[in-house]
């Protein structure tokens, strides 16, 4: 992901995989929306980055995991960045906290000066 136009490609790829995993329409919509928020964060705040998609299997349950990684400035205060309304970019400040609410698993690892990795997963 290098520029905001790439966000659409991330959405489309996520939608395709979410469908193949067998997520319900609502769950597909949730993880695609979360992916859109995180892709935009990586491009706008992280200066671009990568996303890795992983198919998950646990017995009969299937899931989709997405790992967003950037080498941007990092987030000094992750707890604060997760709060609704917190923004440094003039947006609504719902991206990170909102993405967390839309998935079953959420992890964030950020180091100032090194970059940020956000991992999300949604299970069927």
């Amino acid at each position: 992901m290098r520029e905001v136009g790439d966000i659409v490609a991330v959405r489309q790829q996520t939608r395709q995989w979410a469908g193949e995993v067998g997520l319900s329409l609502v769950d597909q919509t949730k993880i695609v929306t979360a992916a859109s928020e995180l892709a935009r964060n990586a491009v706008v705040y992280g200066g671009g980055g990568s996303v890795r998609l992983e198919l998950l299997e646990n017995g009969v349950r299937k899931g989709l995991r997405l790992v967003f990684a950037d080498q941007g400035p990092g987030i000094p205060d992750v707890e604060r960045a997760l709060q609704d309304g917190f923004t440094t970019g003039g947006g609504l400040g719902l991206g990170l906290g909102g993405a967390r609410r839309l998935v079953n698993e959420f992890a964030i690892d950020s180091e100032v000066g090194r970059g940020t990795t956000v991992t999300i997963a949604r299970w069927s």
Binding site: G5, V26, V32
Partner: protein, 129 residues
């Protein structure tokens, strides 16, 4: 440059988003609609989002901005056709769409716009108390 068409329908502007809405396209639409409202003096904006598979915080903000700018330019905005899965996701994301009128489809939305502009016209003619 890629653009979303804005159609004039009587006193209203109709926008039906039929493509995956990337960020720049959303901003262009916001600007185009504002210009058209100012040029034509349209009274209403009907925004059909039935083809949108998702509405994230960026698109949500665009919709809110369009409604706010239309209001300043003396026009009403009605958003129609939001998919149920999109509505569920929007609420969990934390977007309230406050101040944005919604209707089930274009037909209902147009009736709502007509009713609102008619009510406003009525208000103007009412004698002062």
């Amino acid at each position: 440059m890629e653009r979303i068409p804005i159609l004039r329908l009587g006193n209203h502007l109709l926008v039906s988003i039929q493509v995956d809405l990337h960020d720049r396209l959303a901003l262009t639409l916001q600007d185009d609609l504002t210009s058209r409202l100012a040029e034509n003096g349209a009274r209403g904006v009907l925004l059909d989002i039935s083809s949108l598979e998702i509405v994230d915080s960026f698109i949500g903000r665009m919709i809110g901005n369009i409604a706010a700018m239309a209001r300043v330019l003396d026009a009403h905005t009605v958003v129609v056709g939001m998919r149920p899965a999109v509505a569920i996701t929007l609420v969990e994301l934390g977007i309230s769409m406050q101040g944005v009128r919604t209707a089930i489809d274009v037909d209902d939305g147009m009736r709502l716009l007509e009713a609102e502009t008619a009510a406003e016209a009525g208000n103007v003619e009412r004698p002062p108390l």
